[in-house]
Amino acid sequence: MDPAFLDNSLWRNIYCNLAGDSAGCAAREYSAGMLPTGMEWLAFALAAAAIIGLFVNGVLGGVIVLIWGERRLFGRFQTRTGPNRWGPFGLLTPVADAIKTMFKEDVVPKDADRILFNLAPVMIAAPALLVFSVIPFGVGTYVADLNVGVLFIMAVTSLTTLAVLTAAWSSGNRIAILSAFRSVALLISYEIPMALALVGVIMLAGSMSLGQIIGAQSIPFILVQPLAVFVFFIAAMAEMARAPFDLTEAESELAAGYLNDYASMKFGIFFLAEFMAEISTSAIITVLFLSGWRGWEPVPSHLWFGAKLILVLFVIIWFRMTLPRLRIDQVLKLAWKGLFELTLINIIVTAVLIAIWPEPTTTRLWIMAAVNWPVAIISIWAVSKLLGTSGYDDTEPDSDAPVYPVATEQIPGSAVHISGVTGPDTQARMSSPANSHIEQGGN
């Protein structure tokens, strides 16, 4: 049994209790397990199944809580309560949603490509779940700590592009394809800034493994790499197709776009996948920038992780509820002309700092932070000037514009029609003898 596996405390707890004879377990003072000696493979398989089951169910449970939390928060932002009917505080609302979704009729359009149509929800849900296999939720709580963890995350999240296109194409629906093209353009444009933003973090930590990155964060990297977190946050919101980048599912325009033809549980899976992506993005930000499960001692690490996760989720939901949507050309312009340059600046500055201090200690990290923040502010300001703000100045009318002539002249008095009947704008009453049946016509 590879000792690296046994570093994972979750794994250790299950495997060592099952496996009969394991040198690694004995070295860590774990008693021998229940199964007879030759059956380590069985212990391995059972342990793997248990952990995967635990994580998948945990994620789904998290999604359920997120659905409830997001809808309550929506309500709060809109000065209303949010769902409060099912269960105390509406806690059973996601259960009601799930039951409703499951009982709908599963309609497949006639022109749909059946195999791809049924495959697309799987293609979108699987990568969303895969990401959770490398994220540590607490001390020693992870499925696997790959030494290319960050690269794995980037690679897996980019599979959603393919799934979106498959879903739209297999629907055989013009509007869906139109929406999917915009979505694909959006997704591939934002993958580059997202990946490049993490290069700075990798350089600082010296490794792509998530566990080691957490270990290197004696101060959270949000302080040391402000540009990276700025770019990554925006790019991640675009990857999740969340407002202000939700032009693909613009409900008020194309009425659900590429998801148009999905009914019942297939739509439910798309919906779940979007929320799983949200949690995974928040988890990635927590691990890479907010120092993951690290925190002060008395509070267990899982609670620290959870608190930071909820904080990031809150910010994401806040952005969604307040910002309007950007148009596709503005979104692409932002990615290529704005975020890309910011990532390059970040990489150059971080590379220079790492070249000076290859193994930064905590004080050195603080110095790097002090250098990086002014650089971040200046470069964001400069890029915004480059992109061009739409003119906060000329919201008022322009006083030099040519004026269309209104009421500048008058018709001759002889041409004015004197009305025979009175109206509310004259003083005389109808019964007044002076005013009745005035002769029509001018002069």
Binding site: F74, L178, A243, S252, A255, P324, T389, P424
Partner: protein
């Protein structure tokens, strides 16, 4: 080597979240750019003009409520002014002040709807819309105090209104005016402080003033291009000549300017209401039975009266043959006529701008189709 692309025709059908009612738009795209637009309406045509020939002048007030269902008080006011001109009825003072207060409150409500739905169509997922609609709910509560109904008010009668305001109304109105100004401040902050709103509404669907006038377009769309034409100033009806209020003009004539004009007009309406409240005197709210019979029979003739509705020049053309019902009633519907330049606004623009431009026209399908 030229890449051949094929334009796609999409039907933004009568049922659509963003078309402000039942309205069908056949759009032809070339990629993201709009190449051709064909509007189809008539889905809400109820034959109001034909129905009006069978109803007495007072009964038609209920028909006018339902035309522009977002601003029924203004429809009532336009219709009633036409009836009064046709029949030669002098309205009572208190009736006129009350209907001016109702009309300006209605104008604020209508502009709140327009602005809220702009922000909804821009994608803000309902948050600013809820704030605007919440304020409109308070205004509708005031209407309920006045006449018992929130939306289809039927408040006006020939010569005035049919019921005086209850004692709690004036206090509620004062409080409500303060709230309205606060909400308008919030909405304006959203409009004038948000980069995303700017970049999506500025510079899109620009229309020249000469084109607008030639297309008979009036109302906030015209004033957003710098033409100072507001019927309350130029052809004052009721007691608008005793009120002082600013002229709201903008010169940019793009989507942003139209919304800006509406928000500022709503502020001015608050000003007007305050002056009306200061000048109103006690008295009868409608003429007595001896002066104006309940079943009026205007003399033969015709009359056209236009007021400044929330969407533009709202006019009623009434022809009377001496009977209890009009011989012909025609409604000059600003929403229908403001649609004339839809193709000019949309063709050449991007798809993302379609609903924003469409919303800036501020249509109401009840008025387009009648």
């Amino acid at each position: 080597m030229a890449i051949k692309t094929q334009p796609v025709t999409v039907n933004l059908g009568p049922q659509h979240p963003s078309t402000h009612g039942v309205f069908r738009l056949r759009v032809m795209f070339d990629g993201e750019e709009i190449v051709d637009v064909e509007p189809v309406f008539g889905y809400l045509h109820r034959g109001s003009e034909k129905l009006a020939e069978e109803r007495t002048y007072t009964q038609i007030v209920t028909l006018t409520d339902r035309m522009d269902y977002v601003s029924p008080m203004l429809n009532n006011q336009a219709y009633m002014l036409a009836v009064e001109k046709l029949a030669g009825i002098e309205p009572t003072q208190r009736g006129v002040w009350l209907r001016m207060i109702a009309a300006e409150l209605q104008r604020i409500a209508s502009h709140l709807v327009a602005t809220g739905f702009l922000l909804q169509d821009l994608g803000a997922l309902g948050t600013p819309l809820i704030y605007a609609m919440r304020e409109r709910e308070n205004i509708l509560d005031l209407f309920e105090m006045l006449c018992g109904a929130r939306i289809t008010n039927s408040y006006l009668r020939p010569g005035g209104v049919f019921m005086d305001a209850p004692t709690g109304f004036w206090l509620a109105l004062d409080r409500e005016l303060v709230d309205i100004v606060n909400t308008l401040d919030e909405l304006e902050e959203y409009l004038s402080g948000n980069e995303i709103v700017f970049s999506r509404t500025k510079g899109t669907a620009v229309l020249a003033p000469e084109l607008l006038i030639n297309a008979s377009i009036t109302g906030p769309m015209l004033r957003a291009s710098g033409v100072d034409w507001d019927l309350r100033h130029r052809n004052p009806y009721d007691y608008y000549d005793r009120i002082e209020f600013k002229r709201i003009l903008h010169t940019a004539s793009d989507n942003y300017a139209r919304y800006w004009v509406r928000v500022q007009e709503a502020r001015e309406s608050v000003n007007i209401i305050r002056q009306c409240v200061a000048q109103i005197e006690p008295g009868p709210v409608r003429p007595s039975f001896d002066d104006v019979p309940r079943l009026i029979r205007p003399p033969k003739g015709d009359a056209y009266v236009a007021i400044e509705g929330s969407k533009g020049e709202l006019g009623f053309y009434l022809v009377s043959d001496g009977g209890i019902a009009p011989y012909r009633m025609h409604v000059r519907a600003p929403s229908l006529i403001n649609l004339t330049l839809l193709r000019d606004m949309l063709i050449g623009g991007l798809f993302g701008d379609l609903f924003v431009s469409f919303g800036s026209v501020d249509l109401n399908m009840g008025e387009v189709d009648r």
